[in-house]
């Protein structure tokens, strides 16, 4: 009980800290850090998505960059067409480009969700290392597709010149953009809390612990896991759409397997199956990148060493270190 309370306090602190950084940056006119905070929020959102599959469902997906990238491409390509004034497709149905934020988000959710349903349907027939490898391979497949299709500039990617329109808000203002990302992040965490605490979540967590038990009481694990996988991918896909807007650029690098590894790192650094863990993980990652990266180009070397240390000696991640073991009562 005490530990629960400690974790709740910690979570509140984490959420407030992430909110405070851009506000302070804005107050002292260091706008660069507003963008950094938005990056953290977006990458954390991607991690929140993966955490649902990996942390709660035990599905070690090594291909979540695919969903991040697909979300990004869905948003990027539609806004590219809107800017050009061209149609995305004219046959069999007419689909125009769009500069409406909600449309872009919807497209990102839809595309990542549909592809996740296909990838998940095949991948979840396998378990263990096979699952890790097959999700990796599917992500590579989409990566190579994006690289070799000339329509959207292949490897070079597409620049996006304008942020999209969200009624009542001006997304081209960096602070406003941060607030939107932050709100979506908290919303996604809230949704995860509800889902994990629900009946569905109970079945999902049982699937992680003991699939035979779940089957024996008459709940088929496959549809439970597939549903969670799709939800997880959609959250990560939405993060991809935000990422592309933040950078004003979409390219296959957001589909690369390094990114899949990094999203996993966010989850693990923070603590597997901890709702706020991905924020800590993404923040640590970005801080390492900016701070160590400020001293030396070799920051990835230090990242590697730190990560190795966490995996070998600090299982449970940062939240595990600070708040003790996770509880399921």
């Amino acid at each position: 009980m005490l530990e629960m309370r400690r974790e709740n306090l910690l979570n509140a602190g984490i959420a407030l800290l992430l909110l405070a950084v851009p506000l302070v940056a804005w107050a002292i006119d260091e706008t660069y850090y507003i963008t950094v905070a938005s990056r953290v929020a977006i990458l954390a959102l991607a991690g929140v998505g993966l955490n649902l599959a990996l942390g709660f469902g035990g599905m070690v997906s090594f291909g979540h960059a695919a969903f991040f990238g697909l979300g990004g491409y869905a948003a990027g390509v539609l806004s590219h067409h809107a800017f050009e004034g061209s149609a995305f497709m004219s046959w069999p149905v007419m689909i125009d480009g769009s500069d409406s934020t909600l449309t872009l988000w919807f497209a990102a959710l839809l595309l990542s969700g549909v592809v996740a349903a296909i990838i998940g349907a095949i991948s979840l027939r396998t378990t263990g290392v096979y699952f890790i490898m097959i999700t990796l391979a599917f992500a590579q497949m989409i990566y190579y597709l994006a690289i070799s299709l000339p329509t959207y500039n292949g490897e070079d990617g597409l620049p996006l010149y304008l942020r999209s329109n969200l009624p009542g808000l001006d997304l081209s203002n960096d602070l406003t953009f941060f607030f939107v990302c932050y709100a979506l992040l908290l919303l996604a965490i809230f949704l995860s809390v509800r889902i994990v605490g629900s009946r569905f979540g109970a079945a999902l967590e049982c699937a992680r612990q003991n699939e035979n038990r779940l089957s024996a009481i008459g709940i088929a694990p496959y549809p439970v896991k597939l549903t969670a996988f799709v939800l997880s991918a959609m959250i990560t896909g939405l993060a991809g759409a935000l990422f592309v807007e933040l950078n004003g650029f979409v390219s296959p690098s957001i589909l690369s397997w390094h990114l899949s590894g990094e999203i996993m790192i966010f989850v693990i650094l923070g603590g597997v199956g901890r709702f706020y863990g991905p924020i800590v993980g993404a923040a640590l990652f970005i801080v390492l990148e900016t701070v160590i990266g400020g001293y030396t180009e070799r920051w990835q070397l230090f990242l590697g060493v730190i990560l190795l240390g966490v995996v070998l000696f600090a299982r449970g991640g940062v939240i595990g270190l600070l708040a003790g073991k996770a509880r399921h009562d």
Binding site: R194, I195, G197, S198, R199, F200, G201, A202, A203, E205, C206, Q209, N210, N212, R213, L214, S215, A216, I217, G218, I219, A220, V224, T227, H328, D329
Partner: protein, 247 residues
């Protein structure tokens, strides 16, 4: 004669050259306990697994409530009313005892794809689950994680989970194994109390319990049923004594 609930017809299961189940045919009548005894490695658990659906028989059929279920998956069979306990406890280890039972109640209600309402405060899950835990004597331990339960308590929890499914037939794989005298007595009582509602196929090494509970006993040796009959028949059978009771 009423229709048997469960009928095994000519089941065979081979692992390579080993015949773990060799032409087994059995029935289970309503409101009865059919005990399955036999030495270690006789193929009792393998048989249970084929009935529950986690192993596919090499040949033969399993009929349940008049329906051929040989091709059905484990969850489908469970939904039809076939409950089981495992010889080696198989539970959601990170969950509390209560959450393990609640999941079974939820499965019974066919209401898993609900994403919003927290189960922690769901009386429609908690109350029936507590009732099952009380029945097996685990009420006080309801909020402990399974990892904190003793071996015997896990056996009791297995039974509570299976009962929460309100099964028509229970497959029990050595429910008394590892239980102390008192717990084992309690388990016997619980099973006696159940027999009117649930028919049971009981695998058990504890002969006192078997003789006290069973309406019918089958003896399995090297995958074959070498004898089948009432408690008296089996006690009296020379063949069974030679092969198994070792008297």
């Amino acid at each position: 004669m009423t229709e048997p609930l469960l009928v095994l017809d000519g089941l065979h299961k081979s692992f390579g050259a080993l015949r773990a189940t060799d032409n087994v045919s059995l029935d289970l009548a309503p409101a009865s306990i059919h005990a399955l005894i036999g030495p270690n490695g006789a193929g009792k658990s393998t048989l249970i697994a084929q009935i529950a659906g986690s192993l596919k028989p090499t040949a033969g059929t399993v009929r349940f409530l008049g329906q051929d279920i040989t091709a059905l998956s484990v969850p489908k069979r469970a939904q039809l009313g076939l409950g089981r306990t495992f010889q080696v406890s198989s539970l959601a280890m990170a969950f509390s005892a209560l959450r393990n039972v609640m999941l079974a109640v939820q499965a019974r209600q066919h209401a898993t794809f609900r994403f919003w309402r927290p189960v922690r405060v769901d009386r429609s899950l908690i109350d029936p689950s507590m009732a099952q835990l009380e029945r097996v004597g685990l009420k006080e331990r309801a909020h402990l994680p399974v990892t904190a339960l003793s071996h015997g308590e896990r056996r009791q929890l297995e039974l509570a989970v299976a009962l929460a499914l309100e099964p028509k037939v229970l497959l029990l794989d050595e429910p008394m194994a590892g239980l102390g005298g008192e717990d084992s007595l309690r388990m016997t009582e619980v099973l006696t109390g159940l027999r009117q509602d649930v028919a049971m196929l009981l695998v058990e090494h504890d002969m006192d319990a078997v003789f006290r509970l069973a309406d019918k006993i089958s003896v399995l040796v090297y995958g074959r049923v070498i004898a089948s009959g009432s408690v008296e028949d089996i006690r009296a059978s020379q063949e069974v004594r030679d092969a198994y009771l070792g008297e």
